[in-house]
């Protein structure tokens, strides 16, 4: 018997036909997409000079109109608060609807469908629709982020309800309490800590998102930023971006701290 002198690592896809088909498919995709990217080198090199202009225009950041910035930021905060509270309130019934162990089948599907819908659309898309329906401003922003909150909170809340301890529900039911009362007394206290936790997390997310939906006209500091960009006020735009980043970092730290203390 001779000792082998070659060794190959067993390939990830055992069948060579499939493996090569996979490699070729990836290669074709890459060549087909990256190769046909409309890269206009002239534009790109122009882009560099433009980038230079933007950056030299952005430095130093200008805090001259900080009153505008504060107003915008406060508006974002208000939008985030209202959307969080409203979103949480609406999430509770929706979560009940979408909890497999409580809701009847048809209701369950409606509930699930609603928050799949709420989750699938990026807040910016929702915002642009709301802006068209109810006009520019914080109202559209608050509605958008309410939907955004529901998509996230209701889903996790429904999952929490699905793993609930049913002893208490049964106990109350045997006392003869009406169905809704049973729900409120037996289940709500159990999901309350989760709801509060989600709320704090969502407030943080909403604050971030409100900076974005503002760009399509839904109020808040995002609108201030979009305006600054539109008017080529790059130094003001940089100042706003810095404030947004700072606020996000603070909000993330605070919300993380609160949630850590709660558990």
């Amino acid at each position: 018997m001779t000792t082998p002198t070659t060794w190959r690592k067993p390939p990830f896809i055992a069948s060579p036909v499939l493996r090569w088909a996979f490699y070729i498919a990836v290669a074709i995709y890459l060549v087909g997409t990256i190769g046909t990217l409309p890269i206009d080198w002239e534009r790109a090199s122009e882009g560099l000079t433009r980038a230079g202009r933007i950056f030299s225009g952005a430095f130093p950041p200008s805090f001259a109109r900080s009153d505008l910035m504060i107003t915008g930021f406060m508006e974002s905060l208000k939008i985030a608060i209202l959307a969080t509270v409203l979103g949480l309130l609406l999430s509770v019934p929706l979560a009940f609807m979408a909890a497999r162990n409580i809701a009847p089948k048809p209701v369950y599907f409606v509930g699930r469908g609603l928050f799949i819908l709420a989750r699938s659309f990026h807040p910016v898309i929702v915002a642009i629709i709301f802006v068209k329906a109810v006009g520019f401003g914080p109202l559209a922003g608050a509605l958008t982020l309410t939907i955004y909150s529901i998509g996230f909170v209701a889903k996790l809340l429904a999952e929490r309800i699905e793993e609930i301890d049913f002893g208490q529900v049964e106990a109350l039911r045997s006392v003869g309490a009406p169905y809704l009362v049973t729900m409120v007394y037996a289940i709500v206290p159990q999901i309350m800590p989760r709801l509060v936790g989600l709320g704090i997390y969502q407030l943080d997310s909403n604050l971030r998102a409100s900076a974005v939906v503002g760009i399509v006209g839904a109020g808040g500091i995002g609108s201030t930023l979009a305006n600054a960009f539109g008017r080529y006020d790059y130094d003001f735009a940089l100042a706003i971006t810095m404030v947004i980043v700072g606020a996000i970092l603070i909000s993330e730290a605070v919300s993380g701290k609160i949630r850590k203390n709660m558990t």
């Binding site: 000792t3 002198t5 070659t6 060794w7 690592k9």
Partner: protein, 257 residues
Amino acid sequence: MLEINNLVKRYGKGAPVLKDLNLSVQGEQLMSIIGSSGAGKSTLLRCINRLVEPTSGTITLNGTEMTTLGAKDLRRARRRVGMVFQSFNLVDRLTVMENVQSGRLGYISTWAAITRRYPAADIERAFELMERVGIAQYANKRADELSGGERQRVGVVRALMQRPEILLADEPTASLDPKTSEQIMSLLRDLANELNLPVIINIHNVTEAKEFSDRIVGMRYGRIIFDDKPAALDAAQMDEIYAGTPSQDRQDMGAVA
């Protein structure tokens, strides 16, 4: 030949764990180090290939002074020192062959390492050694699919792939059942003979130590207090080695000093 002179190791500002330790290991012999927990056995072993940085003293391996080497020379010197670990320390998600070949990582080209196209001579030697310890059929298996005894064999082969000048084993059998433990110990002894390789083993099982070693070193609180043939180890000396606790020792020594 390994020559350790006046080795001192202290972690941080604490009392020294190794105190002015002298030890010399020649030729092919299997040497066991025994001593109670915290005596400094692991620290001693890990000072040799500088996984632990010695505080002072010298360690000379076949003419190379280990303690003063710079990063690059240290890597070169470490290739000459094989190490086997209590918990095997294999890379779970790699195949047995890749684990074994990682003993050659210091020698092969980066490209060979990335593409896993190992030199023919290395593959041949790997299969020979795996055949020798009985794991050749597992070459393509992932390391985490093996039993403890098999994994330790992989660990041994990985160390031997380095073509080391000395093999260090820190409690190589402590995670294994008694039978497997015996098998690994006799494997180490046989390999020491076959390959003319000095082997130093940290071990808690004194019976096994006596059965398999040519020489036993007893440590207590950072010092060597016994160094002789296994036959010379009697009950009184055992008591001496295993008596007390490190903290007790520390106080006693403190009182003396």
